[in-house]
Subunit: 279 residues, 2 copies
């Protein structure tokens, strides 16, 4: 199976990825946009084409990996958790700088800023670096399995998995009755140029299992103009990260996490009907 | 020998090219900018680096190739020639769409427009598609060798070898006494958005041997913003050509060639001192 890469770029670097169906017996590959266009022209012109395909990828046996978890303990309600997460694994044809090295940097910086505060926020910040997002979100599923009993203690969860570019908006997914509390959090982000957009966050892959358990989602929307041109390709290298820009993203995540950790009341639980929409 | 690619792009596609020195015994390769930066970081950090290099290039024996020449005969002075040229060869890791398929298209379109004119211009238009520009300009040298005797009949020469983007300026290289004649030609290009810049053209590789013989050079400057990011790399594919933009370039070449072919007087010869500067 040959498909056209998801990128909008015109670089001859194909994007890898996972198939949604478990058809491991069908070898599949994406080809770069210029090559897909060439193949299209040949097929339009000649009705038939001969493609020489060398696939170096192979399926290896499962191996152990681990989520990496760190905390800054809350000063008043240490058992209540604000979770910020990113994922450790990446496609190995590039460095994984934007997917998801950038997210790891953003949530680690959030943790560093919390640790450096002279007065810790009321609640605990938990930074989770998930294993295996790309190959089946096993790390996220395992986290949810292990923490089902304390899911009700998770006040909010945010995931950074959309590169290192600027945060331009904040959305949420939670109990509509708590809208004012969310609006107060969103106002703190305004000085960073972050707009409150609406109440319909799109939960990332690693926090979706928490949403299933009713945990409210904070969705910090990052500029994705370049994202799909770079991710999952050999072009995902550290030079694609602008230190000044990712600093804004980290500041937005840290501010949102601080507001969730410090706010007097919590954000309630996500109603069952909203959880279902993202199943 | 490893060098950083000449491109300003951050794609992981190395640019090929030729060495100026004839050190065939030293294998040489360019690496993409992100890889050069990685190597630099490793060397700064560790003082040493180990690179695994697989070079697929190899030197083959010389083989015959040919310049391709076509003419539209002038109505009054068929022995006087306005030459527009481009080159047929390209680096084979891409299609050679911008280097130099675009130039070939521009000069062929110039020829097509001349052939379609109800009244042919006074002088002959000669379209030359040079062989072997990339590997030593053997086609251009052979053309000059074969036509040395009629060099004085070449009124002007222009080369299209800078991609398919817009022509923004025109320069020339010739006898300073003929400046007014050049200025009159340049005025015809103004409606295409082409500016008369100055009198110091940079002759391309394939017309330099003609300059040596005293032939005045018309230099139609094309937008090179993208050029060095694409040329000599796997990214040099047809999708990099915008049909609307290359049409402007072809119109500029055709207009300049028409003006040179139709003008009453010629542009004289390039003084020896100016020829020497470009040797």
């Amino acid at each position: 199976m040959l498909i056209r890469s998801v990128g909008t770029d015109h670089d001859r670097l194909p994007h890898t990825g996972a198939k949604a169906r478990d058809d491991h017996e069908i070898p599949a590959a994406a080809i770069a946009v210029p090559d897909a266009e060439l193949l299209h022209r040949v097929l339009v012109d000649k009705k038939t084409a001969r493609v020489r395909l060398v696939l170096g990828a192979r399926k290896l046996p499962d191996a152990d990996s681990a989520n990496v978890v760190g905390e800054v303990t809350g000063r008043e309600r240490p058992g209540e958790i604000v979770l910020v997460g990113a994922h450790l694994d990446s496609w190995d044809l590039g460095m994984g700088a934007i997917d998801d090295g950038a997210g790891v940097a953003i949530v680690l910086e959030t943790g560093r800023l919390f640790a450096a505060l002279p007065q810790k926020p009321r609640r605990t910040l938990r930074v989770v670096l998930f294993a295996d997002e790309e190959h089946g979100t096993e790390g996220a599923k395992e986290y949810a399995r292990l923490h089902t009993a304390e899911a009700a203690n998770h006040v909010a969860a945010a995931e950074a998995d959309f590169g290192g570019d600027a945060v331009y908006a904040v959305r949420w997914l939670g109990n509509p009755a708590m809208r004012d509390r969310f609006a107060a959090l969103a106002r703190l982000l305004a000085p960073l140029g972050v707009e409150r957009q609406d109440d319909s966050a799109e939960p990332g892959a690693d926090v979706t299992p928490l949403l299933e358990l009713g945990v409210p989602i904070l969705d910090l929307r990052q500029d994705g103009t370049r994202y799909f041109d770079i991710h999952h390709s050999a072009n995902d290298t550290i030079d694609k990260i602008d230190p000044g820009v990712i600093a804004q993203a980290a500041a937005a995540y840290a501010t949102a996490a601080w507001a969730a950790a410090e706010t007097d009341g919590d954000f309630g639980r996500v109603p069952e009907a909203l959880r279902k929409e993202h199943r």
